[in-house]
Each structure stands twice: as C-alpha cells, then as structure tokens.
C-alpha cells in the first residue's frame, strides 16, 4: 500500500538562526512546537504532521519540511 511506504515529512528548525519569536507555535494546528527556554523552537516529531504552516509563518524562514527516515 502506498500509504504505509510513504516517508513521513516533518518540520525541522535551523536552530542557530531561530529568533525564538514563537510565531510558529501560534499557527501549528497540532501544538507540536514549543519555544525551548526562550532560545529556539523545538518541534515534537511525534506530533508534527508536516503541514508546513509554520514554514510559511516563520519570519526568519528557518523551518523546512524534510523527509525523515522511518
């Protein structure tokens, strides 16, 4: 089945460039992102569904949707 073989796509934050503004947190429909100690955004890979809303919102454009290995 195609569904089981599809590689999951998840949000990845380029942490060193993240400004910790929290814009991504606000738009994530899965509540998958949190700001770690005011330093950077951290995505809970278990919750993320790869919708890309955070990518669009991030003012610094430091989030990418990437395929993650199984």
């Amino acid at each position: 089945m195609a569904k089981t073989t599809r590689i999951p796509r998840k949000a990845q934050v380029m942490e060193s460039l993240c400004v910790a503004c929290g814009c991504c947190v606000k738009v994530c429909p899965m509540k998958a992102i949190s700001i770690y100690k005011g330093i950077k955004a951290v995505v809970d890979q278990k919750l993320c569904v790869g919708c890309g809303k955070c990518v669009k919102e991030c003012p610094a454009s430091v989030i990418e949707i990437q395929e993650v290995g199984p």
Partner: protein, 189 residues
C-alpha cells in the same frame, strides 16, 4: 481559541495614535520595554514575544489578514547574528543618546525640543501634541524621545513587513534579540 492577550495589538495601536494627541502618553511605552526584560530575567523565557507583544500581533494582522505583505523570505544578512547584534548595539547607542538629551533638559542645559525624530534622522515638528503640561520639560523631552523610538521602530517594521514576511521585524527587533540573549545567558547555552 483566542485568549485575552491575543488582542494586545489594540493597545499597541492605541499607543501610537495617542502620541499624536498628547505626547505624554509616550511614557506608557516603558511597559513594553520593561515587561519583556523582567520576564526574560525572572523566568528565563521569551514569554513576552511568544504571547503578549502587541506590536508583533499588529504586524501579523496587517501583513497576514490584511495582506499588506509580499510574504517573501528575509535576506540572509538580516537574520545573521552580526546584523541582529549590530542593530541591537546601534539601537542602544541611539537610546542612550536620547536619554542624554533628556538629562540635558532636566538639568536645564538644553531647551525642550518639540520634535519627533524619525529613523534617527528626520525631525518632525510635533508641537500639536504638547500642551505645556505642569510636568517638568524634561519629562516631556523624554516623551518626545521615547515616542521617536517607538514610531521609528514601527516604521522600520512596517517597511520590512511589506517587503518580506509580516513579522520580519521580529527577526531584528532589539527587544527580541536582547531577551533571547538574556535567556541564552540565564539558561547557559
């Protein structure tokens, strides 16, 4: 679900408008100066940016809902540490210069100047918002100076909002950079 703090943009907008009527309202801006610092120093988070900042909300509203943004990526230099920290330092220098000018008026060494300085360069006569209050002229000088800072950063934010993503101001906002730095130091990273 919308929370009460999702409406703080109304306060930010009111603040900017009030400055056109009575410059002394500018003093209220100290709230958005100290709150982020206190939160980052005490709690070690960017709770102000993440929740309460009305200015950020205003930009996402204008650039997002009202579509006043090209929604392009900011250039790489703008998100570089060099630019962000450099802008923070520049902002600080200009801020202390403003405080110095205020001090001079308090000390009686300079006259009150009823101008709002935009982008640290353009002096706009602003007498209509000053009605010769009972307060010391120094208090008014601070109001003019502080309002200049607030209006200048709003203008910069609006420009980058239009050119890039709605909240691109947050990439180089001195308050945001400073609170992130405080968090980094406090949480040792």
């Amino acid at each position: 679900m919308k929370m009460w703090y999702d409406y703080l943009w109304i306060l930010s907008l009111s603040y900017l408008i009030l400055g056109f009527f009575n410059i002394l309202f500018a003093w209220l801006g100290l709230i958005c100066f100290f709150t982020p610092l206190v939160i980052s120093v005490v709690k070690g988070t960017k709770g102000y940016c993440n929740r309460y900042c009305g200015r950020g909300q205003l930009f996402s509203l204008l650039g997002g809902r009202f579509g006043l943004s090209r929604k392009r990526d900011v250039p790489n230099w703008m998100k570089s540490k060099a630019f962000r920290y450099g802008f923070l330092i520049f902002f600080f220098i200009m801020f202390f210069q403003m405080l110095w000018n205020t001090y001079l008026v308090f000390a009686g060494a300079a006259e009150l100047k009823q101008v709002v300085t935009l982008l640290w360069t353009f002096r706009v006569s602003w007498q209509w918002a000053y009605h010769g209050e009972l307060l010391h002229p120094g208090a008014a000088q601070f109001a003019f100076g502080f309002y200049s800072v607030m209006l200048t950063s709003t203008i910069l934010g609006l420009i980058t909002m239009i050119l890039f993503k709605p909240r691109s101001w947050c990439v180089y906002c001195p308050m945001g950079t400073m609170t992130q730095l405080i968090c980094k130091v406090k949480n040792k990273e």
